[in-house]
Amino acid sequence: MTEETQKKSPLKRFMPLIIFGLLVALLWYGLGLNPRLVPSPLIGKPAPEFELPLLNASGKFSHEDLKGDITLLNVFASWCFACRQEHQAITQLSRKGFRVIGFNYKDKAADATAWLRQFGNPYQVVAQDLDGRVGIDWGVYGAPETFVIDHNGIVRDKRIGPVDQEYISEKLMPLVQQIRSEQS
């Protein structure tokens, strides 16, 4: 019997080490996950119904207006510091020809206007959600957040936190390409 324990297959002998290694890998992966990124249940579903007044313009903006083209719905507010951080990237996307709609979340019209005057207005129109009620329907829990909505009005992605170059090149552009190929 003592001989048998020495004859243990190498796999068996290293089993504890392998299990330990797997556990380390799992925990390491878990450490890398950001608990603040709550996946949106809206992805793959039609945009929630809403109708909001426009900032500094007459008329309304509703879920129907999202259809027809790929839309980036950018949740921003004048009180949101990270919105300034992503402002350049949003402006760049707007200049590239994307339809970028502002979703002014829990803000005041005067503050939002001043903010846009100071930093520049990249939005085609800005919908005002002053009390955040429509934001709840969209599952907004902070700003900035950006929804990618396809030409059929289906929510395709949600970016939580500032849009940056990494997101644009690695997620947004491939997704836009995919949507365009579905379209044709």
């Binding site: 019997m1 003592t2 709550v38 249940p41 709840i136 969209w138 599952g139 829990y141 902070g142």
Partner: protein, 162 residues
């Protein structure tokens, strides 16, 4: 100076347990109980380790208002939970539903315990076995011959009894 420093430090250490003041008025006690149950079971997304009942975050307040409004309109508990999950996902539930995605969450600990138990039993068995077999070849031979002698004796005794 020291005393002042001490007081300032002590003040800094004082935890702020300012629970939001509830100013809702309910039609019935059941409704109030349901409101408290729901706002304790739903997680605040801004400050993730708080329920929306005890969070001071702006969004938590909005969601409390939303629950209150829905209760006033006569929505059931299920409808309100569904409303929240449709918008924020299973993440808002402190009590996540049982489904393939959450099997590991629900059964993982029990499975780990069982696996641990299994290995402990196996190790103990192995040790028992090796304890018994730590005998030299001669001893084993002797044991075997004794065993066969005993067997033979039992057999012959049994026959004699008949």
């Amino acid at each position: 100076m020291r005393v002042i420093m001490f007081l300032v430090m002590a003040l800094l250490l004082t935890p702020v347990f300012a629970a939001p003041v509830v100013t809702y008025e309910f039609a019935s006690e059941e409704q109030e109980a349901l409101f408290n149950k729901l706002s304790n079971e739903l997680r605040c997304l801004v400050c993730q380790n708080q329920a929306i009942s005890d969070s001071n975050a702006d969004l938590a307040k909005d969601l409390r208002d939303e629950i209150y409004g829905m209760l006033q309109q006569g929505n059931s508990e299920e409808e309100i939970v569904e409303f929240m999950v449709a918008r924020y996902g299973d993440f808002v539930l402190y009590n996540p539903p049982l489904k393939p995605m959450t099997w590991l969450l629900w059964f993982g600990p029990a499975f780990a315990l069982l696996a641990g138990f299994f290995f402990v039993v196996r190790i103990i068995n192995k040790q028992k076995k090796s304890a018994v077999t730590e005998m030299s070849g001669e001893e084993i031979e002797r044991l075997k011959s004794l065993q066969s002698e005993a067997k033979a004796m039992i057999k012959t005794e049994g026959k004699e009894d008949k």
